[in-house]
Amino acid sequence: MNKVSRRDFLKMVGAGAAAATLSSRWSFNLARAQEPIHLDFVVWSYSVETILDNIKRFEEEYNNAIKVTLTDFSWTAYHETMVNRFASKTPTDVCYNGGDWLPEFAKAGWVVPLEDYFPEAANYKDKIVGYALKDMTYDGKLYGLPYYADITTFQYNAKILEDNGIAAPPATWEELWDQCMLLREKGIQVPIVLEFAQEMPTTLEDFTAMVFGRGGEFFDDKFNVLFNDPQSAAWKQMQWLADAYREKLVSLLPHETDVVKALNTGRHVFTVLYNYNLAELNNKATSPLAGQFKIALMPGETHETYGFCKFYNMTQMAVDRGKDVMDACWKFIEYFGGEHKGEYKVAKRWAVEKGLGFGQLPLYDDKDVQASFAQWIDPEMLKEQAKLARARNQTVWYGIWGEFFRIHLLRAVTGEATVEETMKAAAEKAEELKAQFA
């Protein structure tokens, strides 16, 4: 860290970043043979100091023959800035990617399948949990190794339930309704808080998890619409949410940190959120009600839930730079997302220190990971729910459809439109996009 900030400082003080960049490129060209291979690694801004530290360890591991420059963008603007970056060919060798963007980035030719260039990458397929593997796969090919993989879970305040004589968390949405009514009589006015907002992409993930809990899907494998039917899980769940909103049983907040704070005031009881938020809910350092929160299986008939993966992906630009660079990328990706000297070091570090979920199956048996997770979650329950998690069926136009659907979902839930209108419009949009991208 010291080294980095000193260099940054000198750059700032010096004749300006432009001159610095120019001169470093120039010397790089002159003395190519002796220079280490340089990789540009792009991530969204989460725990950048930890990432820098991981990079330092990686560079030392390879005797500084590979040098990595880190660039990070705010998570909420990551998709748009990466689009801009790729479209304008700004040097990028390895980047974070997600299952929701993979079809888009792959179709645009910006990222490449790992197994095309490194057949040994395919060996990881047995060692990665199903939903993570599916999120990293496009057109049958594996594109990356996991940065983290997590699931969306049903989280609740166990103490409030107990205090109010409710023996067990709800197993179905109908049961949840009854419990909410009961809690309201005891003075909890708005029992449910959700991260549900038009401008927040996670909204759709939360809704997906609820639909999966009822055993549903939005599209089949051929991307035919499944939701435009009153008997479909998505329709039923949307109606349930609309009813709950009308009854004021649910409060919709724009960000996960809002939900975490709201639950910690003890004024609310239930939520559906990315599982890592439970680590924050039960974090004694900052949460007054830490220790009261638990997960239960997602309500619904099948108790399935949504699982996803964020991963390290190599770019076409790295391929264009030649074999040395590609080899360096593979070393890097394997060190970060795979096994290095018998250990999944980096993924383990994220799990232990930050409570991030993992896609690498061997980590489930790791003693340190188990001990760390046990501080904030019941490991057996997590394992049971993770077994029931699956990834979404996604395609190149899914992101565009998701943007469209999210507006309509919010309108339906808050009573601005009916469920029927919403489902019809969403189905038409899907057909239109399918035709456009055929």
């Binding site: 801009n84 309108r411 991208f437």
Partner: protein
């Protein structure tokens, strides 16, 4: 004192001066060239791309006016445009009026005036997205400071859902926007007030005019043009607001705080449709232009630039 007469003489003063005199172009050129570099091509690009199917994930083709048709007929368009116009229509007049009142206040001397003068400018330096977050700290339903204070004082029986109730949320967003924008109106109103000759006030005082009378008969007419300019700028700012709501309401509840510029962003970068994003931007520019022209009709023609050149 960069241009002392002697120094200028050494530089070949007279001929240099004459050159400058002959060419006001020289004086406008730095601004003009910079503006041209960053205006001509981007505007051309925006208008051209609004007529294309343009996306990194689709083959390009000519679209004609299809992009315009598709954004205007989309479900979000009229809702978001309506929200934006209501937001602009309510906040701009308040910003300007509040700006004038604050300027009049700051033009006085009073105990602690300096502290207030310093504080007035602080909201201006805060990015819109962060302003949204700050006001979330005030209005938040379950842990906001407003609920905490009102509840502790016994003024409300239970917490009010400021940010998740339809009209309350819109109001909260408008309050935050006003907070962020009024310092600018105040500073420019104050600058305009400084230009009013003191003698006018002295003469009025001798005529026995009260403070209010002096304000309406001297101050207001003299700062009118400045206020119109500030008003125009604030209209552009309000029409283009989109990151304020991000942390505060996320566009909710439902879609009641969704503004049209959010969708320019969404079309461009989330749906990767540069054509539709550009079409929407051009539409918004036309809306802004229409409003501006309507307001400029209120101003006598020569007020902005002075008499027409020969």
């Amino acid at each position: 004192m960069a241009y002392d007469q002697a120094v200028l003489g050494k530089l070949g003063g007279r001929s240099l001066q004459r050159r400058i005199e002959l060419s006001p172009y020289l004086m406008i050129s730095p601004a003009l060239i910079l503006m041209a570099i960053f205006t001509l091509y981007p505007y051309g690009y925006a208008i051209w791309s609004s007529l294309q199917v343009l996306s990194p994930i689709l083959p390009p083709s000519f679209a004609g006016l299809k992009n315009y048709e598709s954004v205007i007929t989309s479900t979000y368009f009229f809702n978001a445009l309506g929200n934006t116009l209501v937001f602009t229509g309510i906040s701009v007049p308040i910003i300007v009026i509040l700006g004038v009142l604050v300027a009049a206040l700051l033009n006085q001397r009073f105990l602690g005036d300096f502290v207030l003068k310093a504080a007035v400018l602080l909201p201006w330096a805060i990015p819109a997205a962060i302003t949204g977050v700050i006001w979330k700290g005030v209005f938040s339903d379950s842990w906001g400071v407003l609920n905490a204070v009102l509840y502790t004082l016994g003024l409300i029986p239970d917490y009010v859902e400021w940010l998740t109730t339809r009209h309350l949320a819109t109001t909260a967003v408008i309050v935050a926007h006003i907070w962020m924008q009024f310092p600018m109106a105040a500073v420019f109103a104050l600058a305009a007030m400084q230009a009013i000759p003191e003698e006018l006030y002295e003469a009025a005082a001798i005529d026995g005019a009260g403070a209010l009378q002096r304000f309406f008969s001297i101050t207001l007419p003299n700062i009118k043009v400045m206020l119109i300019v500030v008003c125009l700028f604030e209209i552009l700012m309000s029409l283009n607001t989109f990151d304020l709501t991000y942390g505060m309401t996320g566009g909710g509840p439902g879609t009641s705080t969704m503004f049209i510029s959010y969708f320019i962003w969404a079309e461009f970068f989330k749906m990767l449709s540069y054509g539709k994003g550009a079409a929407l931007a051009v539409i918004l520019a036309l809306v802004a232009l229409a409003i501006i022209l309507a307001i400029l009709r209120l101003v006598p023609g020569e007020a902005l630039l002075g008499g027409k050149e020969g």
